[in-house]
Symmetry: D2
Subunit: 329 residues, 4 copies
């Protein structure tokens, strides 16, 4: 449901316009130095404010409510809450009956019998990615020798990202993008041959980030056009180092000690000022809808730090399972 | 580990050149008509023999060992075994110390301390996809009104698939491909907003198929190049039917009642007759390796039925969780 | 770890003398009327204050932080927090190095490398049973036609419970007790033949209540002394009603439609004013320890409502799994 | 459902009078010496044949079908099958409509809509405990320094066990018993404070053994009659050794390094030759039923080795989770 992980387990809660959002981390090894300050750099990276991001300004002050004592993790569950403050729900009243195209409004009403908190997308909001980032910081801190780095490769199909965003803002439209994630320093042996392959677990977590519609590892979709003689990575030493990295650091579902490499496709923000047709659920009439709320012109700008976070969450769990990480730091 | 699913749970076992492979299905509703004959059509679709597939010929006779009584499922776990018969392990002796490029040989040795069954890839073998197909048939039978259909869109980067395969066979090389899966008849409401999104669960299961290196839903990677005004699917009626299907039938992680649509990237078969460099794990010397065993020139040819199967497995589980499927048929 | 349940999933967090404790409930059906007032009656039943219970007085004001909108559950995770207010940690400094006999002090230090929050027992405190009670109320509200009723049968080995407690208070000692739980209105068919038998799941949850050291279903330990001709419950109608209830409402791990009946053994509170010997972990010296904090002379007095709660939690999960409860109320 | 364990995961399958029963063990560390011979001693201990046990004679020859190569575990799932040979289903035809008192016949029909395999109890049969024993042997072999020892303390309420059984056989009746299990050599720290307490996990697994109706740890139900001053175990050294063991080796849900100690109540075998009343499910008429099949007069005789097995299964899982056992032996 709203949890992920076997030994390092992350659960999310809260709504966009409710009192708060929160993340519960169970299974975090004891003895890790942790304070709210540790969380701020990545939370800042995720924050809105730059050109192309929503004008909603949440202070994003994390409150660690449990699991930390004398600035160290205790081994008990860690709850981190974020209060919602800059909330303005007025513009959401009308979506109750006219689901926004591209949004979860329609499915939320259907799945939860109309009892869902529809304000700001409720529990479906991208706002909850702040929780993934907070949990991700803890996972990263647990894996000091592992470097996780994600960045936006292109937006709206262009490498010149800034100009693509300028153009989208000007027209009240939005654009998508491609984000790439690289992880170095991983041990060989994380993941399982079948259902818990490293790709399986990473993609499982990655698709919990709203707006992600595709993922590819190593050469990914390009490998579908390759010959084996080109795609197979030659092995160059007894540590398994390969000359190329078309596998993206994973063979047979298991990390091979090379750089873990994958890319995700981020669709354009669904909320745009341009009219799109939808239907009034009460009357059945087709109506035009433009979304007046505060939104990102390019949500992909804010994805890298979230992508790093879910990657770290998955890897921390695998490191514990494979006994590459100690239960007491 | 080797299991997937919460209420409809599939576990795989066995090795390529061991005594048998098998699949255990727990949580299958009681009262479903089931005989070995039901399994044969999809098992036949997966079988080798066509041009571009391995000359290894397994009869693939499924043996239902438990969970079925008077030709109906009983509600108890169903075990289906497949004996391995056409086994020839001689060509695998040398890979013990010289891991094949593109294969799991190196990671298997590392992860399992050299105790893995290396013959024919052991537990890592594509041979085990026969198990997914068998479980998939049962899942499909449980969902009579849901139609799952996968097909190979292109191979080696070409729509003219046969000629691409011919060329690969001629050169002792292999090629990859793109497979698309469509599902119609799904109810609204399968999946969860975050970690158990429909995309999360489908990709989790899909990446357990060997050789899959990418997945995209709906417009997928193309949506990264779109504007929101183009990508957002307009809603045309109160059932949530949309004019376009860039979302691939999923909004906010939840099925929206439109066609579920996704594509996967299949890399070229790793085993090829062309020399590639690897390393001798004992001496550290670099050596050339060509793989003499019996292999598919284009494993993507055999992926569609496997992709349908894992899709059915995921959906059957979600149908039970969401109470869209009865526990007694 | 700190979670229980498959579809109705309860997670606990917090420490006795930390900022707060909390419970996260995931998978609660949408549309259930829920307010903090609903929680108060059972929270009051659990509260201290009566003779034989601790003088620590927590107001136990539940704060519903998520998952409820317009006084109804939304289907999203429900977080309920309780602030700790009446905290006095001074008496706990000395237990850092001298673990209290009968307590978790020693194992907590060992398991968590000394990083555990030792104040008031930290995450191990009986204080956290308030969380079980809160989650239990929600589970009970979901099952309107099912009646769960637990009561203290005896304390300190005596039916005259009040005088047993008087005597324990007078001597600065503590006493245990037996609590019985009865559930009527259950459908036939909850539970599974093997690992998820109704007894398995109930006992799993019940042993998460601190101080429980035994559980028996129906005739329980008495049945070990019976003959089959006495123990077998005769079936009297086609609904499976039985003339006796030695099975405690469960056959083959599955509820049989008769009253569910079980008893638990509650050991005496470990914290007593009477000296017991322990060891100084730093010096290795044996020392006398009497526990000066505020404690219950008979914790069993407060167990019934907690036992009802965990019973309700287990049954709500089984009702969802077996599709005897709807996902939207 | 039919699985237990997080990292060392055991799944059972099969029916009493079907083709076979089997057990799947996933997550077993690689490199463990394992052959069918290793399984025989404990399988022999469980076998019938002694006075008081059923005349059904199964050869119980285990067939290891996967996960073992060159007599060592590979890290892949291990399937062990047992064929059913001495099957005689004729006496079971009549229970289709007249559920046996004390048995699962009634609930099986209800839960599985009448599709269950009713022959010999089907999937509910005590026959399946052979599977637990087989998995238990593997778990025991993984924990060489841990000694698990269970024995029958009393039968039919008497310490003179043999005479109690003689008397039961003479009258065509059956008797129950008490079995005690002791484990020495355990590390401190297995188990969790709340839902995954050592007692929770042990009792969960123990109640999957048919006929168990109660469990108590350490002083158990006696502790309910004790004072704290008596029940609290004094700590005598810095390893946590205690002077008494009323806690049964577990404090706060976590093993404390002392002997793990618990007892279970086994009810009398339900199948007896003495008439008991039941109901004809078709006609609603009350009828007398005596069970003519081959049964144990005292099933408790065969419980010790099964109890050891489930104990070992639970502990192996906890040892892996707590990183007290290596993934490669």
């Amino acid at each position: 449901m709203n949890s992920f992980g076997k030994l390092f387990r992350v659960s999310v809660l809260g709504e966009s316009h409710g009192e708060c959002t929160g993340v519960l981390i169970d299974g975090c090894p004891a003895g890790l130095m942790l304070s709210t300050e540790d969380l701020l750099p990545d939370l800042d990276r995720r924050k809105s404010g730059a050109k192309g991001t929503t004008p909603r300004k949440e202070s994003d002050v994390p409150m660690i409510k449990s699991g930390v004592f004398d600035n160290k993790t205790t081994g008990a569950p860690i709850l981190i809450l974020f209060e919602n403050k800059d909330v303005n729900s007025t513009s959401y009243e009308k979506i109750k009956n006219t689901p926004r195209p591209g949004h979860a409004d329609f499915v939320a009403v259907q799945k939860f019998g109309g009892f869902n908190d529809y304000r700001g997308g409720g529990h479906f909001s991208g706002r909850l990615t702040v929780l993934l980032v907070a949990a991700g910081v803890i996972a990263k801190k647990l894996m000091k020798n592992i470097k996780i780095d994600a960045k936006l490769l292109e937006a709206g199909g262009m490498k010149n990202i800034e100009s693509a965003i300028d153009e989208a803002i000007k027209t009240g439209d939005s654009i998508g993008g491609i984000v790439e994630c690289k992880v170095s320093g991983l041990p060989v042996g994380l993941g399982e041959p079948f259902f818990d392959s490293a790709e399986s677990l990473l993609s499982h977590a990655v698709f919990s980030i709203p707006a992600i519609k595709g993922i590819e590892f190593g050469a990914g979709f390009s490998s579908a056009k390759m010959h084996g003689s080109e795609c197979n990575d030659e092995i160059v030493d007894t540590n398994g180092k390969t000359a190329t990295n078309n596998a993206g650091g994973i063979n047979g579902g298991i990390t091979n000690g090379n750089e873990l490499l994958f890319r995700v496709a981020v669709k354009p923000t669904s909320s745009i000022k341009i009219d799109k047709k939808t239907v009034d659920l009460k009357t059945g009439e087709r109506v035009n809808l433009s979304v007046a709320g505060r939104h990102d012109a390019c949500i992909a700008l804010r994805v890298p730090v979230v992508l790093e976070a879910v990657t770290a969450i998955v890897l921390a769990d695998l490191m514990l399972i494979e006994q590459k990480m100690k239960r007491i730091i």
